[in-house]
């Protein structure tokens, strides 16, 4: 069965999330910090009347160490040229994820699960792998991203 995914780049690797949960793609912008939030929460974004928490998923996935985001990043907010925020909705919960670049929307075969172990990524967030032109695309579980804490 083919499913539509939004494919994006993060630290040079391809990832995908289901397209039906994607609401919009925005250029990266600073969000409203929330002291005492989880370390991977960049903050809150007010967009078209909806408040989205914005997650640094590279950190959530364990690809980078906690960086200058969240309440400890007092003076660190600068430009993050090229990065994007994908706004998603999972079970009526809106949230955004920061990605390096959105690559495309693509219909992909149902992800292969349990065969390949994700390298360098916390496996609890990975639903499986899809392949296109011999390129591996790690399919993420939106529900897990939302309830990572």
């Amino acid at each position: 069965m083919m499913i539509n995914y939004l494919v994006f780049l993060l630290s040079g690797r391809l990832f995908g999330v289901k397209l039906d949960g994607a609401i919009e793609i925005l250029p990266w912008r600073p969000s409203r910090r929330v002291p005492l939030a989880y370390s991977y929460v960049e903050g809150l974004l007010d967009y078209r009347g909806v408040v989205y928490p914005v997650f640094n998923i590279a950190q959530q996935l364990g690809m980078v160490k906690p960086g200058p985001i969240g309440p400890t990043a007092a003076e660190s907010v600068g430009t993050r040229s090229g990065q994007s925020i994908i706004l998603l909705e999972v079970n009526k919960n809106p949230f955004g994820i920061v990605v390096d670049a959105v690559v495309k929307m693509a219909p992909l075969k149902s992800p292969v699960t349990g065969v390949v172990k994700p390298q360098g990524v916390d496996p609890k967030f990975v639903q499986g792998f899809a392949y296109e032109d011999d390129r591996e695309i790690m399919i993420l579980d939106g529900e897990r991203l939302l309830h990572a804490g």
């Binding site: 409203r32 929330v34 005492l36 989880y38 809150l44 928490p53 919960n93 949230f95 990572a148």
Partner: protein, 136 residues
């Protein structure tokens, strides 16, 4: 016409927070804050207010924010009594009929109760403090 709620808007590192005016007793300058070894380390100390000693908290310390302790002291009533809150500055009174939006899922540990919601104010988001949940 719907009756509004009045909030005091305060600032920490340039970002806005709100507290209901109904919980505010006084705005003053921080002075004569005495250290008290009997208080938990989250308190800056205590100060005399209306004939009683009241514990004083630094909001920035609670929120792990850097910088000085604050230049304004809010005397606030919470469920357990009175307390002083050190903040960077007080900016204005905000009268609104908005119902605070809840904090979205996935942001805070369920054990964190320091916010009462989110308000929109002058094109930005203001975090509503829950004065009863500030202490860990």
């Amino acid at each position: 016409m719907a009756e509004g709620t009045r909030y005091l808007i305060l600032s920490l590192q340039g970002e806005g927070y709100a507290i209901p005016i109904s919980r505010l007793l006084e705005i003053t300058v921080p002075r004569d804050i005495q250290k008290d070894k009997g208080l938990s380390e989250v308190f800056e100390g205590k100060c005399e207010f209306r004939g009683r000693f009241v514990p004083v908290l630094s909001l920035k310390k609670i929120f792990n924010l850097s910088g000085n302790k604050g230049t304004a002291l809010l005397m606030v009533q919470n469920a357990k009594g009175m307390m002083g809150l050190l903040v960077d500055e007080v900016t204005e009174i905000f009268d609104t009929t908005q119902k605070p939006a809840p904090m979205p899922a996935g942001v805070l540990n369920p054990g964190t109760h320091c916010y009462g919601g989110i308000l929109r104010h002058r094109d930005s988001l203001v975090l509503l403090l829950n004065e009863d949940g500030l202490l860990p």
